[in-house]
C-alpha cells in the first residue's frame, strides 16, 4: 500500500499534472480549430503557425521589457486583425468554390508553410526560451507542483469556461451559433454573416496566439513548434467531434492523460502512436466524434 502511495505521490500524480497542463494548453489551441470548423466549415491547417506567432510575439516583446501580464492581453488582441485579414483576404476568395473543404485546407496549408519559413527568417531556426514569469513550486498534499504549471491550469480552465459561456449563454454566442446552423436564415434575420465569419476566425486565431503566450515558458519557442503541436490539437478535435466545444475539452483532457500515463508504462516514444491510434479507431467507429457539432444541438 505504501509502495503504491509512494508511486502515486512521486510518479503518477506529477505525471498526471504535467499531462493536465498540456491538456489545458491543447484544448486552448483545439478550441480555436473547432470553433472555426463549426462555423466556417474550414479546416485551418495554419492554426499551429498562429500559435507559434503568438509565442514568438510574447518572446520578442518580453525581451524588450513588456511584462508577461500585459502580453496575455496584447498578443491575442494583436492576432485579431491578422486573423480578420486572413479570413477576408484569403479564405473568402475560395470560400464559395464547390469543393470548399479541400480548397480551404490546401490554402491554409500553404499559408502555414509560408508563415513557418517567415518565422525562421525573422527569428532564426534556434530554440529559445523566455523566462518563467512565476517561479517556485508548491506542495499540494505532498505532490510537488511548479507554480507556473498551476497558474497555467487555472488560467486555461478559466478561459475555456469563458469561451463556453460566451458561446452558449450570450447574445453574441447565439448569433455565432445561428450563423453556424443556417447561414442564409441568419443573414435574412439581420445577422452580418460575413463579419461574424471573419471575427470568429480572428477569435480562433487569437486563442491560438494566447496559447502560444502561455506555453512559451514551458515548451520553449522554435519555428516548427506549431506543426508539432497542432497535430495533437487536430487529434483532439477529431476525437471530440469537429465543431463541438464540450467534445474538445473532454477529448483534450482525456487524450493528454492517456499520453501521460501510457508513457509510464511503455516507452514515451510510443505515446504519440497510441494517441493517433485512438484517433483512427474513433474515426472508424464513430466518425462524428464524441459530441455533436456547433450549432447543431
Amino acid at each position: 500500500m505504501t509502495a503504491f502511495l509512494d508511486y502515486f505521490q512521486f510518479v503518477l500524480a506529477p505525471q498526471m499534472i504535467t499531462g493536465l497542463s498540456l491538456g489545458v494548453a491543447v484544448v486552448l489551441v483545439a478550441l480555436g480549430l473547432t470553433i472555426i470548423f463549426g462555423l466556417l466549415d474550414v479546416i485551418n491547417m495554419s492554426h499551429g503557425e498562429f500559435y507559434a506567432v503568438g509565442a514568438y510575439l510574447a518572446l520578442s516583446l518580453g525581451l524588450s521589457g513588456v511584462s508577461f501580464w500585459l502580453l496575455l492581453f496584447i498578443v491575442p488582441l494583436a492576432m485579431v486583425p491578422v486573423g480578420y485579414m486572413v479570413e477576408r483576404g484569403l479564405i473568402q476568395r475560395v470560400f464559395n468554390k464547390p469543393d470548399r473543404h479541400v480548397t480551404t485546407l490546401l490554402l491554409t496549408f500553404g499559408l502555414g508553410l509560408v508563415m513557418e519559413e517567415v518565422l525562421k527568417v525573422v527569428f532564426g531556426p534556434n530554440t529559445q526560451r523566455p523566462p518563467t514569469p512565476i517561479s517556485g513550486a508548491m506542495d499540494l498534499f505532498g505532490v510537488i507542483l511548479p507554480n507556473y504549471r498551476a497558474f497555467l491550469i487555472v488560467v486555461g480552465l478559466v478561459i475555456i469556461g469563458l469561451v463556453a459561456i460566451v458561446l452558449n449563454k450570450t447574445r453574441l454566442g447565439a448569433v455565432v451559433r445561428a450563423a453556424a446552423f443556417d447561414r442564409n436564415m441568419a443573414a435574412s434575420l439581420g445577422v452580418p454573416v460575413t463579419r461574424v465569419y471573419a471575427l470568429t476566425f480572428a477569435f480562433g486565431v487569437a486563442l491560438a496566439g494566447l496559447a502560444g503566450v502561455l506555453l512559451a515558458p514551458v515548451f520553449s519557442v522554435f519555428p516548427t513548434m506549431g506543426r508539432d503541436f497542432v497535430f495533437l490539437a487536430f487529434t483532439v478535435v477529431i476525437v471530440g467531434g469537429m465543431g463541438s466545444i464540450a467534445g474538445t475539452v473532454v477529448a483534450g483532457l482525456l487524450l493528454t492523460q492517456v499520453q501521460a500515463i501510457s508513457s509510464l508504462i511503455v516507452s514515451p516514444v510510443w505515446s504519440d502512436p497510441i494517441v493517433f491510434g485512438i484517433m483512427v479507431l474513433m474515426l472508424v467507429i464513430r466518425p462524428q466524434g464524441l459530441f455533436g457539432r456547433l450549432g447543431h444541438a
Binding site: D99, V102, L106, L111, V114, I238, V280, L283
Partner: protein
C-alpha cells in the same frame, strides 16, 4: 428526332473526356521528348548531379500521380500518401540488402502495397471529405513514428548501404548507379505507370470514379457499388505510390524515416496542385516544376519554401486547375482542329 439529338449530345460528352485525355497523352509525349533531350545533353556533358536530381524528380512525379488519382478522380485529398511511398522505399531497401535483385524488390513492394493498401483502404474509406484527409494523415503519422522508433529498421538514421542493383529488362541490363541509364529507366517506368492509370481511368471503372466525384449519392442508384470503386481507386493509388517509392533506395542508396513524414505527403499535394489536379500529366510537370523551383530558388536562399508556399497559395486562388488547366485546353483545341 429528339432521340438522335440526345445521342449526338452523349457522343460529344464522351468525346470531351476522351479529348482531354488525348491532350494529356500529347503532353506526356512532349514531356518524354524533353526528358530524352535532357538525357542526351546530360550524357554528352558527362553530368551526374543534374541527371540524378532529374531522376529523383521523376520518382516524386510518379508518387504525385497517386495523389492525383485520389484527389483528381475520387475527390478525396490524402494527406498521408507518404505512408505508401515510404513503404515502397523501405521494403525495397530491406529486400535489396538481402537479395540484390530488382524484380524481387519490386515484387515485394507490389505485394506489400496490395496488402497494406487494402487493409488501410478499408479503414480510410469509411469516412469522406475532411475526415478522409485527417485519417490518412493519422495513418501515415502512426507508420512514421513506428518506423522512427524501430531499431531493426534503422530508427531515426534509416537504412544505409543499399547495394547497386543490375536491372534486367530483357533487351539490356541497366545498372542503378548509371546516371543516364537509371534516368531513362525511371522515365520509362513512370510513363508506364501513367499509361496504366490512364488506361484504367478510361475503362468503365474510371467512369464510375468520375461519377463518384460528381455526385456520390447518385452512383448507387445507377447500379454501381461506390465502396468497391473507392477501394479500388485507393489500392491503385497505394500501388503507384509504393512502386515509385521502391525506386528511391536504388537511386540514393539509403532510406530515411523522413520519406514517411508529412512533408513528403505535402510535397506530393503541392506537386499535383501546381501541375493540375485530375489531369495525370499534371503530376509529371508539377514534379519537374517543384524540383526546379527547389534547386533554383534554393540556390539563392535557403528559405525557398516561402516562394513555393506563396506560389502554391496563388495557384489555389487564381489557377485552381494548375498549370495544366491553362495548357491543356489549348492542346485540346490544337488536336480537335487537326482532326477536323
Amino acid at each position: 428526332m429528339r432521340d438522335s439529338a440526345n445521342i449526338m449530345k452523349t457522343e460529344t460528352a464522351t468525346d470531351r473526356l476522351g479529348l482531354a485525355m488525348r491532350a494529356s497523352h500529347v503532353l506526356v509525349a512532349v514531356f518524354v521528348v524533353a526528358a530524352l533531350a535532357f538525357a542526351a545533353i546530360g550524357s554528352w556533358s558527362g553530368d551526374t548531379f543534374f541527371l540524378r536530381l532529374a531522376t529523383e524528380a521523376l520518382i516524386f512525379a510518379g508518387f504525385a500521380l497517386s495523389v492525383d488519382i485520389l484527389l483528381g478522380y475520387t475527390g478525396l485529398l490524402s494527406l498521408g500518401q507518404a505512408l505508401y511511398f515510404g513503404l515502397g522505399a523501405y521494403v525495397s531497401a530491406v529486400v535489396l540488402k538481402e537479395v540484390p535483385s530488382f524484380w524481387a524488390a519490386m515484387g515485394a513492394a507490389l505485394v506489400s502495397a496490395l496488402v497494406i493498401g487494402f487493409v488501410t483502404g478499408l479503414v480510410a474509406n469509411r469516412v469522406r471529405g475532411v475526415y478522409f484527409a485527417l485519417v490518412t494523415f493519422g495513418l501515415a503519422q502512426v507508420a512514421a513514428k513506428a518506423v522512427y522508433n524501430t531499431r531493426s529498421l534503422g530508427a531515426s538514421d534509416g537504412l544505409i548501404g543499399v547495394p547497386i542493383v543490375p536491372i534486367d529488362i530483357g533487351v539490356t541490363t541497366v545498372m542503378s548507379n548509371s546516371p543516364v541509364g537509371f534516368f531513362l529507366f525511371t522515365l520509362a517506368f513512370i510513363v508506364v505507370l501513367y499509361a496504366i492509370c490512364a488506361y484504367l481511368l478510361d475503362t468503365p471503372f474510371g467512369r464510375v470514379l468520375v461519377a463518384l466525384r460528381a455526385n456520390e449519392a447518385r452512383v448507387p442508384f445507377l447500379g454501381y457499388s461506390t465502396r468497391h470503386a473507392r477501394l479500388a481507386a485507393y489500392v491503385l493509388a497505394a500501388v503507384i505510390a509504393t512502386l515509385s517509392g521502391a525506386l528511391y533506395p536504388m537511386l540514393r542508396g539509403f532510406v530515411s524515416p523522413e520519406l514517411l513524414f508529412f512533408s513528403t505527403s505535402g510535397n506530393a499535394v503541392i506537386t499535383v496542385v501546381l501541375g493540375g489536379v485530375g489531369t495525370l500529366v499534371g503530376a509529371l510537370y508539377g514534379g519537374v516544376i517543384l524540383t526546379i523551383l527547389k534547386s533554383v530558388v534554393g540556390s539563392m536562399t535557403e528559405h525557398h519554401l516561402i516562394v513555393i508556399g506563396l506560389l502554391f497559395m496563388g495557384t489555389v486562388i487564381f489557377l485552381p486547375k494548375g498549370l495544366m488547366g491553362f495548357v491543356r485546353p489549348r492542346v485540346e483545341r490544337l488536336i480537335s482542329g487537326k482532326s477536323k
